[in-house]
């Protein structure tokens, strides 16, 4: 097992696993408690438009994805403030439009694009030094901003209106939060691909949420789980020779299901022996 560490691409992949674990734990926890998983999915898929644009004009697809993710985040932040009751529609439209735009732009760009698949499903084994540098930078931005304004983010997530009466610029924070989601999404596209991003955003915080009821602990636990899923998934995919992104997501999903079944059994067991079943 340890001899795997001799390969540079494996070392890079492992470091990348740790880095996305942090972003999915920190941002994902806020996404889950804000019931915004679908919103994160919308941003991820809309980012495909930016990847298409990058293919057509020949610049870095990650720059394209970042621009589109931030643009979509901003649109969504405006939409939340104007059409809060219609958010599912707004997200759905952006989700599909981004994918359609990306597909068309890639069709229009010259050459054959085999590597498009790596943006859809991730390619952790192709992570370069430059990627790692970018991911560390994005993680730092995310952790510093959330850490610095934790009290405000918590208050707004819990009761935005009350935060507004206290003079907190809630709208500004909504923009910042969605930008952070956008940045985390772009980071994770590299590893699990834009189609699978929401699994890593939702599964670790969801498991953590059932184990503790403090948001800070949820963030730490979700980070640990995210790192665990990425690294274990990576090693499993190496041995089974399967796609790394899909393997990481499958591993997370199976763990989630087993965990839910266990929680359910434990509750029944407790009820059975303490007679607290009120039905």
């Amino acid at each position: 097992m340890l001899e795997l560490l001799n390969y540079e691409f494996i070392r890079n992949a492992l470091i990348a696993g740790v880095l996305i674990g942090i972003s999915c734990g920190v941002v994902g926890s806020f996404v889950v408690v804000n019931r915004a998983v679908f919103l994160a999915g919308g941003i991820a898929h809309a980012a495909y438009g930016g990847i298409g644009l990058a293919f057509l004009f020949g610049f870095s697809p990650f720059l394209g994805a970042t621009i589109f993710a931030l643009f979509t985040s901003s649109l969504l932040a405006v939409a939340i403030q104007r059409w809060d009751q219609r958010m599912d529609t707004v997200i759905g439209v952006l989700w599909a439009t981004g994918m359609a735009l990306g597909t068309i732009l890639i069709d229009l760009s010259p050459g054959y694009h085999k590597d498009v698949m790596s943006y859809l499903f991730g390619s952790i084994l192709a992570v370069s030094h430059a990627d790692l540098f970018m991911m560390t930078l994005l993680d730092t931005i995310i952790v510093v901003i959330i850490g610095f304004f934790y009290k405000e983010f918590l208050a707004i997530s819990f009761d935005a209106e009350f935060a507004m009466t206290a003079g907190i610029p809630v709208r500004v924070f909504q923009f910042v939060f969605l930008w952070l989601v956008g940045l985390a999404v772009v980071m994770m596209i590299r590893i699990v691909g834009l189609i699978l991003v929401i699994a890593l955003f939702s599964i670790p915080p969801n498991i953590a949420e059932k184990l503790t009821s403090s948001l800070k602990k949820i963030m730490f636990l979700a980070t640990a789980l995210g790192i665990g899923f990425s690294i274990t998934g990576l090693l499993v995919s190496y041995h089974l020779n399967t796609s790394s992104g899909a393997t990481i997501v499958m591993l997370a999903a199976i763990t989630y299901l087993v965990f839910l079944a266990f929680v359910d059994l434990a509750t029944r067991y407790r009820r059975h022996f303490t007679g607290t079943d009120l039905r």
Partner: protein, 289 residues
């Protein structure tokens, strides 16, 4: 924060408000005295919550002026306490009681800095005040409806308010909790103005000093100020809202108006308002002066 208590706690000067093209408040002018216990009643969609949100600076009036002790609501945030009707629709939100109460200190702590030790002490003190001290570390979702309402009251009190706004604080909580809440509010009323949206007639009859009915327009039921227009206009309030429980102490014969002349109606209202207005407040205040 010092306030000039000779000025009205809240004053509305010809305030209009509409959501898009739907007019919610029409030319509302009234004022609330310092340390009044003021109830807003009226039909659903009549504009009660909107009126409170205008006072808190959450909404801006389309026309007219709102003043809190003579200043704009946005400048008075530190003295405004707010207990919203339904603070968080996500019941399993991972937050502890003390964390929620600390949010009451948000207007006093700089953005990006942490709550200080003093903030924690204040939060604990307000929790004791509402009888929830021992639940400080409990997750909010483990509490009953009545307990949660007390925590939200503690959060509002942690701000250190001079005016406390409550939006239907007794909706959906059990009777003992309701009584406890009203006794506490009654106590708090000696140091702060209380403005409350309520459908609770018991509370209106027992504790409240002034009642206003909001239905696009605002009609004040206050001793010595009752006019024929106000009475006529008040009929617009759906009677069932204020006819449950023991309405006759508040608005005698509100629902038998058709058979009576306006004069006798006016007399009976004035009489009943004597009881509601509670001489204690007016007299106490006069003594101080």
């Amino acid at each position: 924060m010092e306030v000039d208590t000779s000025l009205p706690a809240v004053s509305f000067d010809h305030v209009w408000f509409s959501y898009d093209s739907h007019v919610v408040l029409k030319d509302v002018s009234f004022s609330i005295k310092d340390r009044d216990f003021f109830a807003l009643i009226g039909p659903n969609g009549g504009g009660k919550t909107t009126l409170i949100k205008l006072c808190l600076g959450l909404l801006r009036p389309g026309k007219g002026n709102i003043r809190i002790y003579g200043k704009k609501p946005e400048k008075m945030r530190k003295i405004l306490g707010y207990v919203p009707q339904n603070p968080n629709p996500n019941p399993s939100f991972p937050v502890s009681v003390i964390e929620v109460v600390l949010m009451g200190r948000l207007s006093r702590v700089r953005i990006g800095s942490r709550y200080s030790k003093a903030d924690y002490e204040i939060a604990i003190k307000t929790l004791s005040r509402v009888g929830m001290r021992e639940h400080a570390e409990s997750p909010i979702h483990k509490l009953s409806g009545g307990q949660r309402q007390r925590v939200f009251l503690a959060r509002a009190l942690a701000t250190g308010p001079r005016i406390l706004f409550l939006d239907e604080p007794t909706a959906g909580i059990d009777a003992p909790s309701q009584n406890m809440l009203f006794d506490l509010l009654n106590e708090l009323n000696s140091t702060m103005t209380i403005v409350m949206v309520t459908h609770d007639t018991v509370a209106i009859s027992r504790y409240i000093k002034t009642v206003a009915c909001v239905n696009q327009r605002l009609f004040l039921h206050e001793e010595g100020k009752i006019t024929k227009e106000m009475l006529d206009a008040t009929y617009q309030c759906p009677v069932d809202l204020i006819a449950h429980g023991i309405p006759h102490r508040v608005f005698d014969e509100h629902n038998s108006s058709s058979g009576k002349s306006n004069t006798s109606y006016r007399e009976s209202i004035t009489k009943s308002l004597h009881k509601v207005e509670g001489d204690s407040y007016t007299k106490k205040d006069k003594k101080k002066e």
